[in-house]
């Protein structure tokens, strides 16, 4: 067994917090090795030590049998460790080729040293020859689909020829199924070229699809390293390994037939170029699931229902009354709350604390007549709501940027609860949320549906199908016949991915 990397007895503390308590980790040359663990289990810390962002307190790291010191990101790169961050920073106005060689453009001789585009293109071609993948590197990165950006970031990391180890931090979190396939294709060709890949993901089904082995982290230690085959043969449940407890079903029980009053009705709703012909009815007490990939129009539909985009065809009725929203403030007044898909850019004021964010969507309730804030009352309300949603850690004065993805989502939900709306629209509610927190979020959404109407829009078919009472799919802006509101998972999946009618 050729181990390209050995990490032994790695310890890391942050002040009083023990992040890693003796982690042993081995990576073979040319394997795809998935790291699993709930947020805070230690996988990110280990990755940051390996990529030179943090230095470990104890333990040794060997690359190719040689002990190495990875004191800085630069040292890690020189040692052959390349990292692609979760949201890679690329220059949107430059082409793929230019991004790959950013800072290493090379130059032609002469007084006005010009960038040597020919050599850059040749080098890019050489990279593509080593790792065959279909991509147009002459396109501007800003106009590329998410997967191509990810590939550019990976090629950027690989331009160093001595790269032996590639770290991918949740590369699939924003990709659709089809995009995922083309990323996996690249990963396989990297593996064939002898590069070992460490791959962080929250999606277990991907592990079986792509990874040769996986290591589960829990409480700052590695608790198991297995091949996918071993896990299947021995009947080991990964969620149990992750959570250290018998994981219940990820999705809460359905309540049965919803027969509440009709809260929201859309008839032939459309906006040219984005989506059209959307019909549905939402009743109190139910979860309506809408499955659609990125670009299918779900995001735009959610914003239209919330008044941020104006429809140019069709009608909307809230509790039997026709509405035309001039903006989200009208939608909020009508009793609609949107939990947007991107909490960091759309849902939260990141440097402000929990109380600020919880109360900001209903400042009328948060203040007296005249506008003075009810500081004590707001804090008590926030405390109660934070307890309801299970905020961890329970620190209301922390800026929300200091919470994990799942807990940030809980804060957005608390904000919606403070608003006390009748209709809640969730877009991609669990993107970037670890599996332990996902179950909790699903339970919260189900509880919410007992007194309100809930719409869940997602590009995760299992999420829509597992959570919702009734489902529909959107494909290229149009609702697709799925075989009724009770379509099976496969019917829903093929409808949303290929626009296929149910067989």
């Amino acid at each position: 067994m050729a181990n390209v990397l050995r990490m032994l007895g790695i310890h890391k503390r942050f002040g009083p917090v023990k992040a890693l308590g003796g982690v042993d980790f081995e990576l073979e040359a040319g394997e795809i090795h998935a790291l699993l663990g709930v947020n805070g289990a230690g996988k990110s810390t280990l990755i940051k030590i390996l990529s030179g962002v943090y230095t470990h307190d104890e333990g040794t790291i060997e690359i190719d049998g040689q002990p190495v010191e990875l004191g800085s990101p630069r040292a890690a790169i020189l040692a052959g460790v390349a990292t692609v961050q979760q949201h890679p920073e690329l220059v949107p106005d430059c082409t793929g080729v230019e991004n790959i060689f950013l800072g290493h453009e090379g130059r032609k001789p002469g007084l006005f040293a010009r960038i040597d585009r020919t050599a850059m293109r040749a080098a890019a071609q050489k990279l593509l020859q080593r790792f065959p993948i279909e991509i147009d590197l002459e396109a501007r990165v800003g106009e590329m689909p998410a997967v191509d950006r990810e590939i550019v970031a990976i090629l950027h990391a690989l331009r160093n020829e001595n790269t032996r180890i590639l770290i991918l931090d949740e590369p699939t979190s924003t990709l659709t199924e089809r995009e995922k396939a083309s990323l996996f294709q690249l990963m396989r060709s990297l593996r064939a070229a002898g590069i070992a890949i460490i791959y962080i993901t929250h999606r277990l089904e991907e592990v079986f699809e792509i990874a040769d082995r996986f290591t589960v982290f829990r409480g700052g230690r590695n608790v198991a390293t297995l091949t996918s085959q071993e896990a299947t043969e021995r009947g080991i449940s990964i969620p149990e390994l992750l959570l250290d407890e018998k994981a219940g079903d990820l999705f809460p029980e359905r309540d049965g037939k919803a027969d509440g009053d009709v809260l929201l009705e859309a008839k032939g709703l459309g906006r040219s170029g984005l989506f059209s012909g959307v019909d549905f009815e939402l009743r109190r007490g139910e979860i309506l699931g809408i499955f659609g990939l990125v670009g299918s129009g779900v995001d735009e539909l959610s914003k239209t229902l919330f008044g941020a985009i104006r429809p140019d065809e069709g009608t909307m009725q809230v509790k039997g009354k026709a509405v035309r929203f001039r903006g989200p403030h009208d939608a909020l007044k009508a009793g609609i709350f949107l939990v947007p898909g991107d909490r960091r850019t759309e849902g939260l004021a990141m440097t402000q604390d929990v109380v600020f964010n919880t109360t900001v969507a209903h400042l009328g309730r948060a203040s007296r007549l005249g506008g003075l804030l009810k500081f004590g009352r707001n804090r008590l309300d926030t405390e109660a709501l934070a307890r309801d949603v299970g905020l961890q850690p329970f620190e209301l004065d922390r800026p929300v940027s200091a919470f994990s993805g799942g807990n940030q989502q809980k804060i957005v939900i608390a904000k919606g609860l403070f608003r006390d709306s009748d209709i809640y629209i969730f877009v991609e509610p669990t993107v970037g949320v670890d599996i332990g927190a996902r179950a909790k979020l699903y339970t919260l959404i189900r509880e919410l549906s007992r007194r309100a109407g809930v719409i869940v829009m997602s590009s995760d078919c299992d999420e829509v199908h597992g959570l919702a009472d009734r489902v529909m799919a959107l494909y290229k802006g149009r609702p697709v016949e799925t075989g009724g509101w009770n379509a099976s998972r496969d019917q829903l999946l093929s409808a949303g991915i290929m626009g296929a009618r149910a067989a």
Partner: protein, 337 residues
């Protein structure tokens, strides 16, 4: 910055007091008159002018916009005040007229930036230039001091309210109202939410355009209130009156934000106090204004650097890295050749 951001508030206050004490000690050792009662009164009066302008600017900075028009707007306010007094309309009408002019200019800025979506820096430079141009209309650019003595405008500088010099009392009252709005009311929450993340603010039902407009309007009105105090203390209205407001106001807001972690009313007041303590010291030492301007500008740059997390992160990276036993790099030789 990040470590500073975690520090409890009393450490920040302590840092401010120490800084202020150091500044005071330096000037006291250079010019013994610095801490005299007369000079402290003068310092505080000066601070009142700068503080009012900086308070207005604070609202604009909180919604993350820039206003470069207020010096010009203040000049127009000063000339409006002077003209109204010279034309026997009285002090009350004069002040109201000046503040109304500032409010109007602020509304123009706000409409241009928030409803017409013009870039704030360019748009406010333009309205500022326009205001300066208009200020020449009253007297072709000569300073106005007619009727000043008998109108009572000078009393605004010399009177005492609640045992405080009138300008100081006006600043204190304005700061209290501004603090109530920004930190004690729903409107303040909306201002901060707008500045922090405009999309999430819109999704929270906040009418961000109205708040951006309001911030510019407040900034315009307060800069004209500030200039009223300056006119009262100098005894004449001048077309260049506002030009001394720009740099100290920005420096005060950013210095305060650097000290206290974010732009706020107490931070701005603290920043203004530091700025005024320095400017007053330089004046007392008879340092020519262009040198003290240069020093103020230096302080501004340092404050911005400290306020900007990117800069402090870059500074952090400057600490020496441990030398790695690195493998030889064979990076893209074919590209470089």
């Amino acid at each position: 910055m990040k470590t500073l951001a975690k520090n409890p508030i009393y450490l920040r206050i302590l840092a401010f007091v120490v800084l202020l004490a150091v500044v005071a000690a330096i000037f006291q050792s250079l010019t013994p008159a610095y801490l005299s009662s007369n000079n402290i009164h003068a310092l505080l009066r000066h601070m009142a002018v700068q503080g009012l302008a900086a308070l207005g600017l604070t609202f604009v900075i909180v919604v993350r916009q820039f206003d470069l028009s207020f010096p010009g707007v203040a000049s127009l306010g000063a000339m409006t005040l002077g003209w109204l007094i010279a034309s026997n309309f009285g002090v009350g009408a004069g002040i109201a007229g000046a503040v109304a002019v500032g409010l109007a200019c602020g509304l123009v800025n706000g409409i241009a930036v928030s409803y017409l979506r013009l870039p704030d820096i360019v748009a406010t430079i333009a309205t500022g230039g326009l205001a300066i141009g208009l200020s020449y209309f009253y007297s072709n650019g000569t300073s106005i001091s007619k009727n000043f003595f008998k109108s009572g405008i000078l009393d605004l500088n010399d009177a005492k309210y609640f045992g405080l010099d009138a300008p100081v009392a006006i600043l204190a009252l304005t700061a209290a109202i501004a603090a109530l709005i920004l930190h004690g009311s729903r409107f303040g929450r909306a201002f901060y939410a707008t500045g922090e993340n405009r999309v999430s603010a819109v999704y929270s039902g906040i009418r961000v355009k109205a708040y951006v407009l309001a911030a510019f309007a407040i900034c315009g009105a307060l800069s004209c209130l500030a200039i009223t105090l300056l006119v009262a203390s100098s005894g004449a209205a001048n077309v260049t009156a506002g030009s001394q407001l720009l740099m100290p106001a920005y420096a005060a807001v950013y210095l305060g934000a650097a000290l206290f972690g974010a732009a706020s009313v107490p931070a701005t007041i603290a920043g203004t106090l530091l700025m005024s303590a320095m400017l007053n010291g330089f004046t007392l030492m008879a340092v020519p204004y262009f040198y003290s301007d240069a020093i103020v500008s230096t302080v501004l740059i340092v404050a911005i650097a400290a306020f900007d997390p990117k800069v402090s992160a870059a500074l952090k990276r400057l600490r020496p890295a441990r030398s790695p036993k690195a493998l030889a790099s064979t990076s893209l030789r074919e590209v470089r050749s």
